[in-house]
């Protein structure tokens, strides 16, 4: 008897896809943000980005552990997290861009955190109790992440000259991929019908846009465009992601199966 046994096969498979998408998103943004440790523009931001990255990797670990218990095929959370080729990862294309400058990091954090908050809210009353419990805990931490992203977006957008110009350039590159975080997932209808999530992607996308509109209007930032080729938003990863993948798998690949 495992946690997934009470679910219909179709529901279970959709739940696995949802958990993989969430875990990979947190894992990839966590590793990406950890690259700021030591090179952020302020000492306080070295600390903040390191702490944010640590939180995201912690959330990823808990989500991979939950996924491992649902899949129940003998693979550990670490095996799921690390033992895949780059094309096997299922994170949103928004997180596929190279690290870029500080404005890019802030634009990415803002777009991701706001979409993730909408996703977590849709799971807050989930019928799948282990996920509902974990989401309740994660949301208490993510409030700090949102606050950080909003404070910096405001700061960069409100400064005339180079900060705003850099932010607008980053926004122009990232915003077209922002909708991939809440893009449609295969079998998502069964997530809604089983009460695992309270809505499907189209509704989440609308909620997210409504939530960010006031701030974007006030800061005179354009709303992210609708996703193009929405269903491919989590596949076909970039060269920048393959570089990141080489980094985060380096230790594990150097001695497969090692424990420490």
């Amino acid at each position: 008897m495992t946690v997934g046994d009470a679910l219909l096969p179709a529901t279970r498979s959709s739940l696995e896809i949802l958990l993989l998408a969430m875990a990979d998103d947190e894992f990839v943004i966590g590793f990406g943000d950890s690259e700021w440790t030591g090179i952020a523009p302020l000492l306080e931001e070295d600390v903040a980005m390191s702490s944010l990255a640590q939180d995201e990797l912690g959330h990823a670990r808990a989500l991979y552990e939950l996924l491992a218990s649902v899949v129940d095929d003998g693979r550990s959370a670490d095996a799921i997290a690390y033992d895949r080729p780059p094309e096997g990862y299922y994170h949103a294309r928004l997180l596929d861009h190279e690290r870029g400058d500080w404005a890019t990091a802030i634009a990415r954090r803002y777009l991701y955190e706001t979409a993730d908050a909408t996703r977590l809210e849709a799971l807050a009353g989930s019928s799948f109790v282990p996920l509902r419990d974990l989401v309740a805990k994660i949301r208490r931490e993510e409030r700090y992440h949102l606050m950080h992203a909003e404070a910096w977006l405001e700061r960069l957008a409100g400064a005339e000259g180079e900060p705003r110009e850099r932010l607008l350039r980053a926004w122009g590159r990232l915003a077209p991929d922002a909708a991939t975080v809440l893009g449609p997932l295969p079998g998502e209808l069964s997530l809604e019908m089983s009460g695992i999530a309270d809505a499907t992607s189209a509704v989440l996308d609308a909620r997210w846009r409504a939530a960010i509109r006031p701030m974007l209007e006030r800061l005179r930032l354009p709303a992210p465009p609708p996703a193009t080729e929405a269903t491919a938003g989590r596949t076909a990863h970039s060269a920048a992601f393959r570089d990141l993948w080489s980094e985060f798998t380096a230790v594990r690949l150097s001695e497969p199966g090692a424990t420490w």
């Binding site: 600390v47 944010l52 912690g58 309740a136 805990k137 950080h148």
Partner: protein, 173 residues
């Protein structure tokens, strides 16, 4: 004269209350000032004929100290109840929040120069950042938030404008 037989190793005191008391010796290595009981990390202790079962609530999902805490719990309880397995489970069945820190724990934090958390706000509500956090060194309420993020996931950095001392505060969750 009647010779008392030697008591079996765990005959005395191996009840749930004794286990709770023993857990008072276990600390989070990142917050060594207070025990995991005062920190509110222990959710339940269940002693049965077959095993001891202990549920822990991590302070933060990604708390890197949790494995050390689990090992500390297992070692400490095994000395008290050596005749059955000690099962330690990490649980999210209810979220650990800073409200779980006991009044004794808050006092101990303050005495070690570590400000206790503010009262928690519900998810979705704005985080209280400007509440009057008294300086743990001089008691002044004229303190400012320097960084909501600190050296570990559970700490923020504040500064006292009176005694000019930076100090850490438990991040309110």
């Amino acid at each position: 004269m009647v010779t008392e037989p030697l008591a079996p190793p765990r005959a005395a005191g191996a009840d749930e209350a004794a286990i709770w008391a023993a857990l008072g010796d276990v600390h989070d290595p990142e917050i060594p000032t207070i025990s995991i009981v005062d920190l509110g990390v222990v959710r339940s202790v269940e002693l049965s004929a077959a095993a001891v079962r202990i549920e822990l609530l991590p302070t933060f999902v990604g708390c890197p100290a949790i494995e050390l805490i689990v090992a500390g719990v297992r070692d400490r309880v095994a000395t008290l109840v050596p005749d059955r397995p000690v099962e330690v489970e990490i649980s999210f069945a209810e979220p650990w929040t800073t409200e779980r820190i006991t009044p004794e724990g808050r006092d101990a934090l303050r005495r070690s120069g570590f400000a206790p958390p503010l009262p928690a706000s519900p998810p979705g509500a704005p985080i209280a950042l400007t509440g009057a956090v008294p300086c743990p060194f001089c008691g002044s309420r004229r303190t400012v938030l320097e960084n909501p993020f600190g050296p570990t996931a559970c700490r923020s950095i504040r500064y006292c404008t009176d005694c000019r001392q930076p100090f850490e505060q438990f991040k309110t969750v």
